[in-house]
Amino acid sequence: MPRLEQLAELTGHEDRVWCATWHPTKPILATCSGDKTVRIWQATNAQDPSKWQCTNVLEGGHKRTIRSVAWSPDGRQLATGSFDATTGIWERDEDENGDYECVATLEGHENETKSIAWSNSGALLATCSRDKSVWIWEVEEDNDFECLSVLQEHTQDVKMVAWHPTEELLASASYDDTIKIWKDDDDDWYCSDTLQGHESTVWAIDFAPSGDQIVSASADQTLKIWKRFPPGNPLGIVTPRRGEPVWKCVATVAGQHERCIYSVSWSKAHGLIASAGADNTIRLFEAIDARPEAPGVLVEIVAVAEAKEAHGTSDINSVAWYPSETHGDWLASGGDDGSVRIWRLVQ
């Protein structure tokens, strides 16, 4: 049976760790915390993932908790979303001492910024907030960011935003129990679908490697898999909006997590789903087509492995698979105990 083996425990944050994010190409991890800092961690030797060091501490950019952190696709910039309502953009000064400095601050949200995400091309940045809105920013030259659109269709806090892995298509998850899909029609952003089915706050979402499925994690203690069906799909699934695909729930994972699920990560390297939350457990699942003759219509979720008390008795707020095959078996987690842990999937 596959299992998760803990490789390293990284300590240094002085408050709960909210989010852990891998650099897109290097064995570097960024984590953020209630201690208002971001820490950058690097494996001292890529061959020995049990030894890590904190290479940078990003301080002073935010006055309140840093809720989320995201690398730009080229790995040159970091974005931070804070309870102080702003988004920070950080860059590493390669010439000087290798410190990160805050090169831009994006203002506009009325209160806590909860999540930020860069589009696949790096041309767009999305932010979301307790003010119920999602903002789309265009990344311009000289660290300039122009707000293209303010999307206000959620009726409650927006907890997370995630971009499709290849298309300019955004998903947002909310305290209003729904997920919304946003698209661009000649710089005019609109909501193309609303995914209803969760019975409480949707805390996290992630796209499948193909981009045709989304996994969502909720306070209702379930995970759901949603699949996109284009107009004229061979299965005859009705697409109510002219020309628009429709997203349908094809699987629900219930009875696995015993409390709120805060984070979910769909591995782009091997397709396993990792989830974690307030029940102190990291769980791994595989999504298998239950009807191979009709791919994706009915998905069966198989529990693959678990790590109980992965952060002792603390909530786990974040799990993240390493984004590429180089170290595809690595998983990072962050918890209320203030620690960051690196795990390896052992087959």
């Binding site: 709960r16 409390r259 603390s314």
Partner: protein, 158 residues
């Protein structure tokens, strides 16, 4: 003068002294594990002040020992409280005070759920959802004005 939401609450008699616990045989045995129980949780929260009356949550019957469930073994606590009136706009603040009090006093291993007692508030679902959203709680505790109000209510907690 501001109008009170509940101008004339019913006042109940509070149990005297620090603890309402009855003496148990194992209390004299220093080797017995001291498990946390409903009585202990009640003792932590009963003397919190109501945000709008100079009275304790126990005096207003907002908290009762029988409405607290504790599983020391499973590290879980459920505190149900009863707003004095069904449209009490202070319900989330009272719940937040209870949460902060327990956050400060209990070992971090405990998962605490706080909710208004079923059928005692017209926005029961919304209040419960907010009180148990850790992100909202964390953000609220970084709001210095709100924290000051919470600290005032907790100043009387013994």
């Amino acid at each position: 003068m501001t109008t009170l939401i509940n101008q004339n609450p019913i006042i109940y008699e509070a149990s005297a002294g620090h603890s309402t616990r009855e003496w148990r045989e194992e209390d004299d045995d220093e080797n017995s594990a001291d498990a946390i129980d409903a009585q202990e949780i009640f003792d932590l929260i009963r003397s919190i002040s109501d945000p709008e009356h100079p009275l304790s949550l126990e005096q207003l019957n907002v908290t009762q020992r029988d409405h607290i469930q504790v599983s020391d073994e499973n590290n879980s606590i459920l505190v149900e409280f009863t707003p004095t009136i069904p449209h009490c706009s202070m319900a989330t603040l009272i719940g937040l005070c209870i949460r902060v009090r327990l956050l400060r006093c209990l070992p971090s291993r405990f998962k605490v759920d706080i909710s208004v007692r079923k059928g005692t508030h017209q926005s029961e679902h919304a209040v419960n959802k907010q009180l148990n959203d850790k992100e909202r709680v964390a953000a609220a505790l970084e709001n210095s004005h709100l924290l000051e109000v919470v600290n005032q209510c907790l100043a009387t907690a013994t």
